[in-house]
Symmetry: C2
Subunit: 633 residues, 2 copies
Amino acid sequence: MRRYSPVPFNEVNVEGNFWRERLHTVLTRTIPSQYRQLESHGLLESLKVPQPPPPLRIPRSRHNFTTQIFWDSDVGKWIEAASYALSHRRDATIEAEIDEITEWLAKAQLPDGYLNCWYIGREVDKRWTNLRDNHELYCAGHMLEGAIAYFRATGRRRLLDIMEKYVDHIATVFGPGPDQKHGYPGHQEIELALIKLYHLTGDKRRLDLAAYFINERGRQPHYFEAEAEARNEGPNDFWQKTFEYNQSHKPVREQDKVVGHAVRAMYMYTAMADLAADLGDPALKRACEVLWEDATARRMYVTAGLGPAAANEGFTTDYDLPNDTAYAETCASVALIFWAQRMLNLDLDGKYADALELALYNGALSGLSRDGEHYFYQNPLESDGTHTRWEWHPCPCCTMNVSRLVASVGGYFYSAGPNEIAVHLYGGASTTVDVGGNKVGLREESNYPWSGAIRIQVDPEAPADFTLKLRIPGWARHATLKLNGETVDVGANSKDGYVAIRRTWSKGDAVALDLPMPVERIYAHPNVRADIGRVCLKRGPFVYCAEQADNTVPVPRVRLPRNAGVEAVEKGDLFDGVVTLVASGRAARIDDWDDHLYRPDPPLDEPAKWTAIPYFLWNNREPGSMMVWIPEA
Amino acid sequence: MRRYSPVPFNEVNVEGNFWRERLHTVLTRTIPSQYRQLESHGLLESLKVPQPPPPLRIPRSRHNFTTQIFWDSDVGKWIEAASYALSHRRDATIEAEIDEITEWLAKAQLPDGYLNCWYIGREVDKRWTNLRDNHELYCAGHMLEGAIAYFRATGRRRLLDIMEKYVDHIATVFGPGPDQKHGYPGHQEIELALIKLYHLTGDKRRLDLAAYFINERGRQPHYFEAEAEARNEGPNDFWQKTFEYNQSHKPVREQDKVVGHAVRAMYMYTAMADLAADLGDPALKRACEVLWEDATARRMYVTAGLGPAAANEGFTTDYDLPNDTAYAETCASVALIFWAQRMLNLDLDGKYADALELALYNGALSGLSRDGEHYFYQNPLESDGTHTRWEWHPCPCCTMNVSRLVASVGGYFYSAGPNEIAVHLYGGASTTVDVGGNKVGLREESNYPWSGAIRIQVDPEAPADFTLKLRIPGWARHATLKLNGETVDVGANSKDGYVAIRRTWSKGDAVALDLPMPVERIYAHPNVRADIGRVCLKRGPFVYCAEQADNTVPVPRVRLPRNAGVEAVEKGDLFDGVVTLVASGRAARIDDWDDHLYRPDPPLDEPAKWTAIPYFLWNNREPGSMMVWIPEA
């Protein structure tokens, strides 16, 4: 059912300025510094069982459980990110680090294959007794993804062997058999990893186990209730109160609302879309489509942030999208990219690529600082200046999620379909795609996302008849296209957000796609109470925000009347080059308020020029106020 | 330093419709039903030590401690409210209930006077080891207030004797002596009770103990740190992280920002204002004035709700006043009334009466349902319909706070000063005030707060020269005044929000005060981000809200352009008579949005009539959306 295959990142050469710089930062700074953080905060030490895990070295968050319980996953995710770096360029230091971790894991692994360092080091007799809260399968999934990535990057399979042995063990513990547990992860993730393992090895048992976890989820009698009872806990003792939290409130095919913990939801939907493709399961695909519609039509920030609430790190009610308290976890936007990619490769519908791009350039990328060593866990759309990036977190999940994303960003640019090549993202990337045995070189050059002038050179080994599909982003109007200098009618040749050029391609064929990038005002659905009377500025794929560092007028006071002019202004000296937006807007006056907090006279405002920058860049200078949704008056 | 004395509620006959009805409900329904709730939820049982407290019968809140730890206080507060009811009309059933509780307490009290049922029933050896969290002094304060009220209402002093014995014990435990603890309550409250006890008995040791608690607070070395250390806890283990939470971050006279838990803050400021008066302490008075300014100029909702955040049940940053997540605990607005009354009686500055009235008719009264048996703990200014009143709460503090307030509301109407009588509130109330030995009858008649036409008859026993001061509310413009039919110039005779009539008064003198009550639009300071582009409707002392039950257009979509008309419409059949506001406004359209969540085209709206009701009345019908701050466009 998956008609398109993404061209993997290690076959794509990212050459454009925007991503080259970010890749460089992640490869040279983020990944090494993350290793140091894992080391200094005890996460590496925690793998050296049998000793119990070291104490927490930063104040714990207010979870009901210690974050140490998912440290295996953070190390696994770092191995994955680091392995993506190795795919770009081998590095003996990193490889030695991963090999050392591998030996700790080899030593920790129990004879039956079980390998969760927290349980082994603390209370191994309690393993598999609290799938709902205690993250064993989640940890296994991330470590497995790390092992797969390391094997792909280096060909070394010791870690992969260890993890396959663990997966074999998991497959004996869980399943439909009378002596097996009919359980599934409280935090979905292993499903994705198992599907990747299936794609690597072709071993269908891995796919079946992933499908088992997905199919069993939410069935009655409810596994988490039975499990709680076995722990002598009451059925109402669940600290999150509802199984919507982990999307096990009903069978997945019956789910039609995006609920609960946002990252768990996104990982699950990703796995569902994968399984829909790999198993040809139309009911799963349909469920994904319904959930997608719910997410994007009622529950997504304009930045592609997901999950407004801190209480469940997730979803609340339709249109509940507060700006300053937005949780919008970096991980959730990263995981939305995973899901969108799976959906996109089912049918090549540009709406999925639009969300993928939106998340990539906004809600996900905002999680990583320019210096590559500071992070956002939450990504609010408005701040009084107290929300700042941190170097590390009691729950460091987002750090490695964003590094593994950037390190593999090339994998989101192209797909190969049946006698088709599809280009989803622009920004300077070249690749070679096999089309019916014919190797087709593609070199896309542009200064995207800052400019929409895109040039693509198509170089088949030999002349070949195939379709080149170029994404016309949902935000782009009046796109123009030329093939070897001749105009192609974009409208007439477009479907679902892609313009198709079918012809016999020859070496040197030149495509010129122009996506005008005017400044756009965006409005939210009137049901979004937080955005009433407000407007958001966008240009190309970027959502913009007013940040205090660029402005003399206090940001909370900036206003943008509907008739105010806004100009795109390139600033070469800011963040190594960025297009800012300069508004000839207004600013609220406070000088006439004395000490009144409320009064019968309406507030006054005055003319004010103010500047906005792409949202993902905020809080890379001194702390200060920030606002995405600007009051019109 | 206190120049005015409030006329106590039991000397004021509340006759006007508005308060008479609410009083009737509280006396006949609220107080009896609260007894039943205390009984059925185990709070009464918990007093029957030595057995340990019964299990919680409703799910516990997410506190770090069991709410049982402050159950003594809830019973004490109910005794206070019930005793206020007895002051209106004696009731053998209620008195028997209180007498029975008294005997349980007598049995529980330890020989040395100690009387906290939770500690006695569970771990009496740990008493006085965690003042920061465990509410012993808070409980003592509320039970003492109950005992004082019961003695005042009935003359029975057994409970008062018990509590005085406990106070004697507390005075041996706490104080400056080398063998005494230099501690103070984590939750302020006992200070108020001790001052009331001093006012009752004249025993200055009670005042001194209150002053000790206030003066010791926030000094270095910090008592709560030393106490935590003695419990083998680290100095950073405090679950609230900062001593701002309980206003012990610095000595009280140095405090200039309203911070932390809102109820604790308000109780403390109330005690500070009392002590400023009783001890003639200008530094305490000055601190109160600075804190008052901070609270009302930067940190108060338009409803007089206080404390936006659930995390600390309290204050955050200046102008941070979100509407839908507003915590605005009922108790905090009730306690603001206490504080405002103390401040008002220092200097008779109408700004304190304005806040008192605002809290009374809005943020506090909203906490109690029309049927008198349902409550709000939090009082948000916007709701999607999921916020509803409850019958009982794991932490039932607000229930008895609002019942004791209403049961004693007459006490806020009048003050006697040096040859002066001041009238603060209107609404139909009569009293007799002693002015230099001359008994002056006052009968105020009006349909306030629905109408501003106020008639006051002044009846001195014998003709007497004194000043009658009538409050001109801050919201009132163009007030007119007539004395025996002759116009008095309000402006020329006004100061600090009171118009003064000094003359020789004779029986039958008639004052007619007219306070026009047009519909008012109120705007928030531009720094209040939540209210940008929004307007609030007021009429008289009432803040209005649009509630779904009155409207066909969905409330989140109502709009009020600046030029829209709003009319006051009396509805006799709604809530036994209420003035509604009917706006010829607009409503956002959503029919042209399809499934888009964001779009470049601005939202459209269309004409719509919609209705607003006084805020305090919301959620007395079916659940539905509610909005105080209405978008202008």
